[in-house]
């Protein structure tokens, strides 16, 4: 767990807010609390991995509405653990369909909550790593020359050097040289790695002209 991991708590009930923050602290987490969805949205975007413990029933914007507001915003979207005083089935279904990590009814056991928080933080860490990797890959792909980008595309497509050479109208040796530079620029140790790293981007039509 890195130092800037934060668990956010949004609940209109002050007793619940305080007790949740305390429970989180007792498990070694850093907690920040907000009394309403509006307050949370007006606050700064999270710096490191984070997750949200969210009450459903609140005056003004309720929990589900906040979830739907956050989803499209990359810098703010985070895994959500819902807590509620009611056992409202339709709401729980909707929350889960929208991608919530868990849906807990008050009063809940500390293990239940902390397990869900751990899962949420894990998910967020994973997501961030993926995102970071993605942008790293894109940055590297940005350093390729157009010819190198073409070679990358065809290599990732699984074509042997000979075919690539004939497709591009260059000699096999040149292909090998380009390939070497691509591997170097992309910092891939093997073909498999290269495919893993850049496969998705290429498939989405990035980093190359068709």
């Amino acid at each position: 767990m890195s130092a800037c991991e934060t668990v956010y708590v949004v609940d209109d009930d002050p007793s619940v807010r305080r007790s949740l923050a305390r429970l989180l602290r007792s498990a070694g987490h850093r907690a920040e609390t907000f009394a309403s969805a509006r307050e949370f949205l007006d606050g700064p975007a999270p710096g490191g991995p984070s997750c949200l413990i969210l009450d459903i029933c609140m005056p003004g914007m309720n929990g589900i509405e906040l979830q739907e507001t956050l989803r499209p915003i990359d810098t703010r979207a985070m895994p959500i653990v819902f807590v509620t005083g009611h056992g409202d089935v339709p709401k729980s279904v909707r929350a889960m369909k929208n991608g919530a990590v868990d849906f807990l009814t008050k009063p809940f056991d500390d293990h239940e909550l902390l397990r869900a928080v751990d899962a949420a933080l894990r998910r967020d860490r994973e997501l961030r790593r993926l995102r970071a990797a993605q942008s790293e890959t894109r940055a590297r792909m940005g350093t390729l020359t157009p010819r190198e980008a073409e070679v990358l595309r065809l290599v990732v497509a699984g074509l042997p050097n000979k075919i690539i050479a004939s497709q591009l109208g260059i000699v096999e040796k040149t292909v090998k040289v380009h390939r070497g530079r691509v591997m170097h620029k992309m910092q891939a140790g093997s073909l498999a790695e290269l495919v893993r790293m850049a496969g998705g981007e290429v498939a989405h039509g990035l980093g190359g002209q068709q």
Binding site: S15, S19, L20, A27, P107, F108, D109, D110
Partner: protein, 526 residues
């Protein structure tokens, strides 16, 4: 009197007659003369003298005959007759007396003697006449008295009959009648009272009747009675009276003074009527009304059950999290005791919060609710809010409170007034179902309106009251809700009115409706 009297002298001898006249006239008598018996008789009839002085021996009617005749006629019977005789014989005297003469005088007579006798007999005659007159007058008076007595007896009799009839009529209606003297003491027989209470006639006399009153009512009744006697009016009071079988019955006693012509009190008359059944009926109505209000309260609470469960589960969840957090802190290498301490402090206050909701709830659904006390309506509203805040959140209603600061108290029953506020709150929230979320605002304000009333207004922003509904909302069993009983508002209005206040509704000028509860303020103006 100008003359001593009128004398008729009768003699056939003119000389004697003239001598008599002289003597008598000189003595001051009015003298009439007659030469014979017949003319003397007719003279007596037409102008009765005070005395007749007559010679016995006369031709035609003699003195005896004249006397006999005079005594025989009622109009001349009373005239005393003195006979004059030339012969002083005992026989003549006896004869004369037999005829009714009062005296004799023989010739020749002494003038003094004659006048003396005449004077005496006239006096006697007059005295006699006077006696007769007085006797007649007495007899007449006696007669009149007897008539009057008869009339009075009859009047008393019919009065007695009337009183008896009246008493019987009054007692047929179940009332007891009683009378006292002007000082309020029983002096006459009060049979109906004695019959009911079983008191002896003697026991009830004076102030003895008070022994049949319930001891707790004795002081109050005596005070009221004494005051009424002092003020000569206005006696009306209730007390419990012990029946001869020992049971106490509730009575309403009324009395009024009977005034003499000069305005003083002659006596008091009164009735007592058994109102036990009426009081029982009144108590039953009160109880039933209270029962109904209670049922309505329980009904309202069941509508709130979901939000109440939520209201209590919040602090419970917080307590659990705090306790589990504290345990975790204690497990660490160096336990963070500050955290543990503040966790425990929060547990205490969260428990109290839950306890407050339960306490309000319990007080609200309790049946016994007889105490009246000074209340601050702002506080009453806050107490209701404890039960309703979750409901407001669930229904997405924002509650806007506007409480005046210098608010006087009202006097009343806390539970009942909470019931009214709760009812208006629930209605206000329901009125805004289906309205766009951002517009759901319920405004609760409390203020004094300047006319001595404390006013609570609950205004919603719903669709308002249509005319046909507005007329009927306070009618019992009228409801627009599918599950409604329709008793909430009628009961609320009854509560308002029993507190001396009003409950009304009107549509707002822009949107929604406002319900207005007005209650009389107590205490000095702030």
């Amino acid at each position: 009197m100008s003359t001593k009297g009128a004398v008729l002298a009768v003699d056939d001898d003119a000389v004697s007659l003239s001598a008599l006249k002289g003597t008598l006239t000189a003595a001051g008598y009015e003298v009439a003369l007659a030469a014979n018996g017949e003319s003397a008789l007719s003279s007596c009839v037409t102008a009765p003298p005070d005395l007749v002085l007559s010679d016995i021996r006369m031709p035609g009617m003699d003195g005896y005959e004249l006397c006999r005749r005079l005594k025989g006629r009622p109009e001349t019977r009373h005239i005393p007759v003195i006979l004059i005789s030339a012969v002083a014989e005992a026989q003549e005297w006896a004869e004369g007396l037999r005829t009714g003469a009062v005296d004799f005088i023989s010739k020749p007579f002494q003038a003094d003697e004659l006048l003396a006798r005449i004077g005496t007999h006239i006096d006697l005659s007059r005295a006699h006449a006077e006696i007769v007159r007085q006797a007649a007058a007495l007899g007449k008076a006696n007669e009149e008295l007897r008539c009057e007595l008869d009339e009075r007896i009859q009047a008393e009799e019919s009065a007695r009959r009337a009183v008896t009839r009246l008493r019987a009529v009054v007692e047929l209606t179940g009332q007891l009648t009683w009378t006292t003297n002007a000082q309020g003491e029983v002096v006459e027989d009060i049979p109906a009272w004695c019959e009911f209470t079983g008191q002896d006639r003697g026991h009830a006399l004076g102030w003895g009747w008070t022994r049949a009153l319930h001891p707790d009512d004795l002081d109050r009744t005596l005070r009221a009675w004494r005051q009424a006697v002092r003020n000569r009016g206005g006696y009306e009071t209730e007390y419990r009276l012990r029946r001869k079988d020992g049971a106490y019955r509730d009575f309403l006693a009324r009395g009024m003074p009977v005034l003499r012509a000069d305005g003083t009190v002659a006596e008091w008359i009164g009735t007592c009527i058994d109102i036990t059944e009426r009081k029982r009926a009144e108590e039953l109505i009160h109880r039933q009304r209270d029962d109904l209000a209670h049922v309505a309260r329980v009904g309202v609470i069941s509508e709130l059950a979901v939000s109440l469960a939520h209201e209590i589960s919040q602090p419970l969840a917080a307590i659990l999290s705090n306790a589990q957090a504290a345990l975790r802190f204690l497990k660490a290498g160096t336990p963070d005791l500050d955290e543990v301490r503040s966790a425990l402090a929060d547990i205490v206050s969260d428990d109290q919060r839950a306890g407050a909701v339960i306490k309000e709830l319990r007080a609200f659904v309790k049946k016994d609710e007889s105490r009246w006390e000074p209340l601050n309506m702002a506080e009453v509203i806050e107490e209701v809010h404890v039960i309703t805040q979750s409901d407001a959140v669930i229904k997405n209603v924002a509650v806007d409170k506007d409480f005046a600061t210098a608010l006087r108290c009202v006097r009343g029953n806390r539970t009942q007034l909470q019931q009214v506020i709760l009812n208006l709150f629930m209605n206000g929230c329901e009125a805004m179902e289906g309205i766009e979320l951002a517009r759901r605002v319920l405004r609760i304000s409390v203020f004094e309106d300047g006319s001595g009333m404390v006013v609570v207004e609950i205004a919603d922003r719903g669709r308002g009251l249509p005319d046909n509904v507005k007329q009927k909302i306070f009618d019992p069993l009228f409801t627009t809700k599918p599950q409604g009983l329709g008793m909430g508002l009628p009961i609320a209005r009854t509560i308002a009115e029993s507190h001396g206040g009003t409950l009304t509704a009107h549509n707002n000028s822009d949107r929604g409706a406002t319900f207005r509860l007005a209650l009389p303020a107590h205490g000095d103006r702030v």
